[in-house]
Symmetry: D2
Subunit: 165 residues, 4 copies
């Protein structure tokens, strides 16, 4: 299932390594020993979650159907114009970050405004429609960063508790 | 826009009057003077919200594309089987109730389990696919009931404050 | 930490066995081989989650401070009157169910309306204030039921996939 | 009620004008004719919402009780240490942004990471405890910015529709 997921993202122009790089840039300031491998591993773990896969399947399907002009109106026009008040793309994305708690939510908000790396590239598409994919990618990165933060915090928290006893 | 919304629901087998009846059955115990007209008016007000319209457009599009066999895999199979762990339908529905606060959320949960009236009918479809529509309908009813409760509470609360002063 | 959690609930009149009974009544219709032990185990697993513990600590603190008359106004009065439009209790509760997905959300809505067993008892308090605790208890039960459903579904889903191959 | 709200924030070191300034800096790039007055008006409108007031009453009460050392353990210690994995402060804050949709959520995430102006000042407290207040203030700003964006978009959207007909 993970392989299928990674292939589907690749077919739409998104590589796991690109996501891992942004996770790295978000978390490096807090964790000096952080490696790109650890970031990539956290991206992969997020992509194995069933909720994440369902959101990605649904969002990419809507992007592809819009590109082919096969959505019923008025949805087809809304997607073509990337109508700014359409919020279902963010809702799907937030359903992913929800699972990873409030750190994921705030990271998502930050990425959605700063649009680093691949997120900005998807946003400035020509010909292609990525109404859903740019938000999904931002939420996967935000969730991987939150997952990493929780695990590192938990480890150091347990260490500090052990030191006290 | 409201007329288009009502027509789209009707084309999928759902009438505003059917929604109003369930709002009535939910709220009648708390408000003895409640009328069906007041319930119908609250359903209509929910249906004019842009967020609600976007969720309905998107959900019905996915239902129709699944019926026509036009979704990419694995989404097509997930929708055909109404795969129980697929939760994107509930996520779209909860994005509607979110706007109407916690009373709407709890009403939605109740309706999703009890599946009264039209909700149950949509759920036991044959031939047709209503993976999204049954949840959307439940969330519209739950939101209309919450809207009604808030307005009636607010009125009686203001009355009680006025009596005190 | 789990022991402290269980003791804190017990001091406020809530036993794990009472929660497990309601999980059982919710899930028995779907799983004929279900036992009370399995339900109790799922309640315990929910109670070990850090997010759940933080919500319970915060909600019970607010209930106790309100009982002692030690909250600043206007919060003290809102809590004493169990003001129906105060929704922070449901928000804390929904932060627990959020982690367990949409099945937990709908179960919570159902319990919040039907108020079975211990939930109803807490709601009809005299002298004591359980503005937060009744919702927290409902959300712990709803989450344990969802956890159980997910695990049993996942198991049978994997079985069915294995049969196909 | 609005006056009480504004006074309560002022007593904790937060002025409406400080919030309006950050709304201005967030929205000015998109709206060249924006004034500080319009931003302040949007902050005030957010502060009149009952859900917002309830979240602020509850969060400030918890901050004040923690400062006075009056919370039961382990909550007192969690608040004193501003324990990084405690997320109830973000949950209260997100309950405000929820009402204002996904633009509010992403603005909140951005502010929570960049900690501009008064948000950063509250975060670097000495002696005082603002575990809840810094997040609440960020969510009020984010919501006011979203409210402003929605209203300006809606206006220009209606203009563009009118031009077409």
């Amino acid at each position: 299932m993970l392989d299928g997921m990674i292939k589907m993202l690749k077919d739409r122009g998104v590589e796991v390594a690109q996501l891992a790089e942004i996770v790295f840039s978000l978390q490096k300031p807090y964790h000096s020993t952080l490696t790109l491998e650890e970031c990539e591993e956290n991206v992969r773990r997020v992509l194995t979650k069933r909720e994440v896969q369902h959101a990605v399947y649904t969002g990419i399907a809507l992007d592809m159907l819009a590109e082919a002009g096969n959505l019923p109106e008025p949805l087809q026009k809304i997607m073509e114009q990337d109508e700014p008040l359409y919020g279902i793309d963010e809702i799907l994305a937030l359903s992913i970050t929800n699972v990873y708690g409030s750190i994921a939510m705030t990271n998502f908000g930050y990425l959605d405004k700063t649009k680093q790396g691949i997120i900005g590239k998807l946003n400035n598409h020509e010909g292609q429609i990525h109404v859903f994919l740019d938000d999904l990618v931002a939420s996967i990165i935000a969730s991987a960063a939150a997952r990493l933060a929780h695990q590192r915090h938990a480890r150091s928290y347990e260490d500090s508790q052990r030191d006290k006893s």
